[in-house]
Amino acid sequence: MRPAAFEYLRPTARNEAIRDVQGSDAAFFYAGGTELLLALKMRVLRADRLIDLKRIPDLDSIHLSEQGDLIVGARATHRQIETSALIQEALPALSQLCSQVANIRVRSVGTIGGNLCFAEPHADPATLLAALGARLHLVGPEGERVVAADEFVLGEFETVRGEHEMLTHIVIPPQAGPSSYRRFRHGERPSVGVGMSWRLAKGGKVIESVRIRFGALGPRPQSVEAVERCLAGVEIDNASDELAVVLPDALDALEVISDRHGGDDYKRHIALTLLKRCVADCREAAVVRRS
């Protein structure tokens, strides 16, 4: 199918784009369009104005801030993130995540910002960014604001971003330990995703605290307190054993929706397996880090 007609604008500055998006009640930003254009083609979404963000400079920058935060521009494509030497070095879990999104065509033009803002529940970035404690920077008619990645997604296709706000960049604070992201998929999208980041105590042998997020199971990424608690204060070599004590029961707390990706017990089981593998990944990375 073809999309219905729409007006097409190509602003060259952020404030122009913010002004343009207010000009219609069915105006949308787009960059890669891998989600949005498909929805328009299928005519489940109507747009009367599309605002192409690709001519605005500096929206796809990947760099380290002076404070050591990793800054990822919202318009950075999955391919750019996958191949960024900086991210491969500083946050390999993110590079690996982006290398597995959909297929080469989506990775070429699809952006991390578009993925986050479209908020399809079967997606990867939101889950890991929540586990990493990332912050999302938005700009709109009322100015700029920052939202924790943990709070960005409200539900299916719904985020805290206002209609007239643009996601400009993602700030990932310096990590005090290893991180991992594992997903299971049999199609283009993840059926289950688990993101994890460890905060290690000085010496690198003890886990101070962990952040774990489970994605694609429910409308938004979820945490399970019991799992995070059981790993706090634990020696890294004992992490898997400590985790085993609370499993599988702790995962009953997860909201899991049965859909064409699988039934709820199947997905819950996969989540458990991925969780264990993430712990193993982080332990291995922590050991390597130490040596």
């Binding site: 219905a4 979404l45 929706i257 859909d259």
Partner: protein, 149 residues
């Protein structure tokens, strides 16, 4: 999708019947339902049902018909319409029964609700959940309306 609800009301069925057959006020208990017009009293009505899930919108011009009215015990109605842009059809068949009780009336609503068309490609589980939320909201509003009367 099947939904059912029951509530105990302090007034007698005859009094509840009066409110229940005010189709305009009952329809306005449905989340997103607006602009209810009477075409033929206690028989035919129209309304617009609007829904929004994230950026996805539905605007459904609905025909509402009262199929069967057995005062003061039972009402059966059905409503249906399609959102033109997405080619999504909503339809509902609703049975309302009033049973007299010692302290008033037990009201039961049974609704059979269907969604068909392109919007379903977004995911039936999500649509089901939204329908459940709407039905629960309908129940709260209906209860408030009937208790006030």
């Amino acid at each position: 999708m099947q939904f059912t609800m029951s509530m105990d009301l302090s007034a007698a069925p005859e009094e509840m019947w009066r409110v229940l057959t005010d189709v305009k006020r009952i329809s306005e208990c449905i989340p997103g339902c607006e602009n209810v017009q009477e075409i033929e009293r206690l028989a035919v009505y129209t309304a617009t049902v609007k829904q929004k899930i994230g950026p996805f919108k539905l605007e459904v011009p609905a025909d509402i018909r009262i199929d069967d009215a057995d005062e003061p015990a039972r009402v059966r109605m059905h409503a249906a319409g399609s959102d033109k842009f997405t080619g999504t059809r909503l339809s509902v068949v609703m049975d309302v029964t009033l049973v007299p009780e010692e302290k008033g009336t037990r009201l039961t609503v049974d609704a059979q609700f269907e969604v068909n068309g392109r919007l379903v490609t977004l995911g039936m589980p999500m649509i089901k959940r939204r329908a459940e939320q709407n039905f629960q909201e309908f129940e709260s509003r209906l209860q408030a309306l009937l208790e006030k009367a």
